[in-house]
Structures are given as C-alpha cells and as structure tokens.
C-alpha cells in the first residue's frame, strides 16, 4: 500500500494499528487524542478489531493486561492525566512481561493542565512512572509518518522483548495533518507465537500463569535481575536517533518530537548566519542515545536542549555529556511551543558562554 494519504497523526496511528493486526483496543476519551478511539470505533470494528470505550483509564490498562496475557496484540491510548491513571497497571504489565502498545498524546500539566501540546511527561515515560524498577520502551515520533511507523515498530518490539512500548507524542503531532504512506506489513508473518499466554491449559503443558507477585524476596530479586538483563539488551539493540547537520557542527541542539521540528528551522536560520549548529534527535527516549551524546560532546563546544517542559530530557543529556562541555536548556511550558527565534537567542547566549580561550584568559587576568 504505497498510496500517499493526507491524515492527522492520531488517525494515522489508529490506521497503522489496524494494519499491524492489532486485535483489541481499550480506551477512554481525552483530548487531544480521542480521534484514535473514534477512528478505531469505525474502521477498527469494521475490520474485525475489538474496540471498547470503557469506564476509565484504570479499567482500560487492566483490560490491556488481560488481553495481552491472553496472547492478543493489544493497545490503548490516552493523554497525560489518563496515562497517570494507568501507572499502576503499567507496573504490573512490565513485571508480568506482557507485550502491548500505548500512545500518550502529551498535553500540558501538571494537574488538569491544558489540552495544548507539551513534553511534560518525559520523566514519567522514561524513568518508570509507576512503582518499582521497570522501563517502558519509549519511541518519540516527530511527524505523522512516524506516528504510523512507530506503531508497527512498537508492536514488534513489544512482542520481541515481552515489554510494554509507549509512543510519546504531543497534541500537535496528534492533530496536525501531513502526508503519510503506510508501509507493507503482513501481521500474519510478523506476529510471533506466545506459548506463555493463558489460552486454556491443555494436557501437554503445565498451567500458564500471568503474575507479578513473587512473595519470597529471593524470587522477586531474580525477577528483577531478569528484567534488568532484558533492559541491558534493549539498551544494546534498540537505541534510535537521527542526526541532522552534525558533521561540521560546533554547537549541538538536542530535541525530540515536535521540539526537534522547531530545531530544524533553527538550524536553517542559524546556518544562514554562519553558525555551525546541528541536531541530535533521540527517537528512542528509552533506551536513550547516551553514547551518541557523549561522542558529540567531544566534537562540539556546547549543547542546547530544547523541550516543551521545564527541563527533563536535559538531565539525560547531562548524563551523556558528563561535564565535558556546557549544556544549556531552553523550554516553554503550559502548552506553549518554543519559537525558532527564541530558541536561536538561547543558542547565542550559550555561544557567548563558550567562546574559545580569550574570554577565559581575560577572566584569569582580572582575578590576578
């Protein structure tokens, strides 16, 4: 199916889910992502999916647990407050190692906040969110095309690692219209067998049990060690990012999702002014491209992290940089999207701080 279509992000994700052979969707409406369930309620049901609007996000995520445990390819979607309600269930899902896909169309918080786009759920998404030591695999699309692409990828990764996968986007990506091409994908070939699923105990196997309960500390530690080993594998195999104009870059922008789109414009303007700046766009937010951050920190003089929040991913950039060069942050909150102009101003401030030698020599002289 290589037809070019014009679609909004939420609908593209929903269509991709149908094409990826998603068996079931459980969700609860919330702006700015209700188009996902609306699209599926029409198209998904017509094409054989179980699509249910249920009583709450708490119920939805636990239905995802049940359906995933029964071996189905299953998903839910929501926006920030709804995703918060799902955190207990996600912790259970991560521990019970149930493959499933979630989409968070991030809106501005905290609290009921605003329905405008935000990246304020970064910490919640990549550091755990619920209780205990666990990780979701987190993918950050930056276009409608990627909203679709990462649905396929997300289902495959979820099955491969028996791990929940989260697509973290924002209200703008969810609702803007762009062209999209749905790649060829044959769910029959891609879906893997799930011998661990609860489908009814047959005579030739012991009962299958889906649980996150391990009352003996030794057993619980073993489960944790197993999960951690899995996370190390994911960190080794699944780091994804995009580099834009970094070959000759003296300064680096780091941004994901919609912020990365703005940074691309910043690069255009800056380069016209002779500023050699590039962009690292993390695509997998967990696992995070620390190594690439570290490598680029050896090349550039300073890094500006741009986010639609108060500064969350910047902590991961600083971990990757490990003090080698200055890392500044520019962000807007409450659903405001940073402008390329203001971002460029922040970049120039960083450049002033990081001018080579001369200024620091002056400083030393002054001190003397």
């Amino acid at each position: 199916m290589s037809e070019v279509l014009l679609m909004e992000g939420n609908e593209a994700a929903a269509e991709a889910a149908i094409l990826a052979g998603c068996d079931a969707y459980f969700g609860y409406p919330i702006t700015p992502q209700s188009e996902v369930i609306e699209y599926l309620a029409d198209q998904g049901r017509k094409r054989g999916m179980v699509v249910m609007q249920v009583e709450s996000e708490v119920a939805a995520i636990n239905m995802v647990y049940g359906a995933a445990g029964a071996g189905a390819r299953v998903m839910t979607s929501s926006s920030s407050p709804g995703i918060s309600l799902m955190q207990e269930g996600l912790s259970y899902i991560a521990c019970a190692e149930l493959p499933c896909l979630l989409i968070n169309i991030n809106r501005g918080g905290p609290g009921l906040g605003t329905i405008q786009p935000s990246q304020g759920d970064y910490f919640q998404s990549v550091k755990g969110g619920g209780h205990g030591d666990y990780h979701l695999i987190v993918l950050a699309p930056a276009s409608v095309q990627e909203m679709a692409d990462y649905v396929y990828l997300g289902f495959d990764l979820a099955d491969k690692y028996r791990n929940p996968v989260l697509i973290l986007a924002d209200g703008a990506l969810g609702q803007m219209m762009e062209k999209v091409i749905f790649p060829d994908y044959d769910p029959k070939q891609r879906k893997i067998s799930k011998p661990w699923a609860t489908t009814g105990k047959t005579a030739n196997r012991p009962p299958n049990v889906i649980t996150s309960l391990h009352l003996q500390s030794e057993d619980m530690e073993k489960i944790n060690i197993h999960l951690q080993e899995k996370y190390r594998q994911i960190e080794k195999n699944e780091v994804r990012y995009e580099l834009i104009s970094t070959d000759d870059a003296e300064y680096l922008l780091v941004a994901y999702g919609l912020s990365a789109r703005i940074c691309q414009r910043v690069i255009e303007i800056a380069r016209q002014q002779g500023i050699k700046v590039g962009l690292l766009r993390p695509i997998s937010l967990y696992p995070y491209p620390y190594e690439m951050v570290s490598k680029l920190a050896d090349q550039v003089r300073g890094i500006l992290v741009v986010e639609m929040n108060a500064g969350q991913m910047v902590e991961d950039v600083r971990l990757g940089v490990n003090g080698k060069i200055p890392v500044d942050f520019y962000g807007r909150m409450g659903g405001i999207i940073p402008t390329p102009e203001d971002t460029l101003t922040s970049l120039k401030k960083l450049m002033n701080k990081t001018q080579p030698k001369k200024s620091s020599e002056k400083l030393i002289k002054e001190k003397v």
Binding site: A59, M63, A67, A68, G69
Partner: protein, 275 residues
C-alpha cells in the same frame, strides 16, 4: 498432577482430589472458606471437562495465589481490577470460559467501578465474590461489607454507620443491572450449603457457555483469623450475624429479579462480643 492414586491393599477409591487442583498445600487459615470454594470450583471444572478452556482471574486478596492451587491457566490481577482483566481476556477469547475470584474489598471497594461496569455491559463471565466482611489479607481491617457493630482492626469499637457508612449490599445492586443473568448468594459453611453452591457454579458455567451474560455468585464466607474466632464460632457467626443482612438465596434467575421478603435493616443487627 492427576489425583488418581493406586488403591492401597485392594481398597476401593471412594474419593479423589480433582486433577484441576494442584498438589500444593493451601496456605489458608484453618477453617477458612477460601479452600472450600476453590475445591468446589475445580470439581465443577473437572466434571464439566472444561479445564482446557478455562481461564481464572484472581486479584489481590487472600486468594491472590489461587493459581498455585488451581491447575488451570490463570492471571493475577491488581487489587480491584479483576473484572477489567477478565474483560480483556474474554473479549479476545470469547469462546473460552472465564471467571474471577474476588474478595469484598476487591469487588465492593477499590474495584466497584470495574465491577458495576462489567456487570452492566453483561460481560459473559462468572464472578465469584467471597464476602467475608473483612480485609483478610491485610490483617483484618473493615471491609465495605463489614456489618454494623462488627469489630475490625480499623473499627475497634465496632462498625458504626455515622462514621463508616452502611455495609454495602452490592450484590443486590448488581442483580438490578440489565447485563446480569444469574445472581445468587450462597455459603460453604455446611455440607448442604456446599452442595447448593456447587449447583450454582454448574449453572453459571452452563449459562456462560450459552453466552447469557454476567453471572455472580456471592459466597458469604468467614475469616476466622480476621474475625478472631475459632472456625466453629465463625460458622455460627455467619448464620447469626451475616445471614440476617446477607440472606442466602437467588437474587436473579434467568435474567429476572427474584421477589424477596423485606430484609432487616443493618442498624438493627445487634452484635455481641465474641470470644
């Protein structure tokens, strides 16, 4: 796992553990109703030959590790979310037999929304509701179903309506929901009541095979440890104190409400101190 044993010295086998129960020794306190209910459920599953089709869901509560005893595929659910998990299972495996096994805290407090909505949607599974009027697992705190005057670790002076509200007759409400087909209240504290309960389980599984909608069986049960009684005292207490407020019998049959005699109000149930 098969319970079949060689007869010793040519003796005749008159009773066997069903193959649907594992060899694992149950952790329940002596005299607790949980073990009896497990046994009856597994007997019925074996007798109906549906072991390979059945998926159980046990949420947090004393019976959270029911999967150690039930030799069937099972999912453990978060506290209160059993009917949501069961909905997920049943909706993707509509031809399987699904049941939940929930305590009163699980079904009638933290999971009330999930319970009501599953029943209202008429989810085609069986809910087994163990009403022991207490939070057994966490050490005997008040449950939504604790009767008036009942002493628990969080109602040391006895449950009192003005501060703790009324005991929750959730089964009566569930019977009124159009999605439910068979709603009944039982107990397992005597051989006769066990037999009646077993019949109810058989019916409920049959209705599920016929896709009739939600079936709920409440078991008015005991918690000798939480109630701080001997098993015998607790069984007596079921009859004297629980039954007046939670009378056994059918509430809904074939999708129709059963006419009931008026039930004595909670506040008149007088509780005597038990040793």
């Amino acid at each position: 796992m098969n319970g079949t044993q060689e007869p010793i010295n040519g003796m005749e086998v008159v009773w066997e553990k069903p193959s649907t129960l594992t060899e694992t020794r149950m952790h329940y306190c002596p005299g607790c109703g949980h073990g009896v209910v497990h046994k009856v459920l597994m007997d019925v599953i074996e007798e109906m030959g549906i072991q390979d089709k059945t998926i159980g869901v046990a949420p947090v509560g004393c019976s959270v590790i029911a999967y150690n005893y039930m030799n069937i595929d099972m999912q453990e659910a978060a506290h209160g979310r059993a009917t949501a998990v069961a909905t997920g299972v049943k909706r993707v495996l509509p031809d399987k037999i699904v049941f939940t096994y929930q305590g009163d805290g699980d079904l009638a407090a933290i999971g009330t929304a999930e319970t009501m909505h599953a029943c209202n949607r008429g989810e085609n599974f069986l809910i087994v509701f163990i009403n022991n009027g207490i939070y057994g697992m966490t050490g005997g705190q008040m449950a939504p179903t604790s009767i008036v005057g009942m002493k628990t670790s969080t109602t040391p002076e006895g449950r009192e309506v003005h501060t703790q509200g009324h005991p929750f007759k959730i089964t009566e409400i569930i019977a009124m929901l159009p999605g439910t087909y068979y709603v009944t209240r039982h107990s397992v504290h005597t051989p006769t009541t066990v037999r009646h309960f077993k019949k109810a389980v058989e019916k409920a599984f049959k209705y599920q095979q016929e896709k009739k909608g939600t079936c709920l069986i409440e078991v008015v049960s005991n918690c000798p440890s939480g109630w701080k009684m001997t098993p015998l005292q607790s069984n007596k207490w079921i009859e004297e104190k629980m039954f007046p407020f939670y009378p056994p019998g059918d509430l809904k049959v074939d999708g129709k409400l059963v006419e009931k005699k008026p039930i004595p109000p909670a506040a008149t149930t007088e509780i005597k101190e038990s040793k």
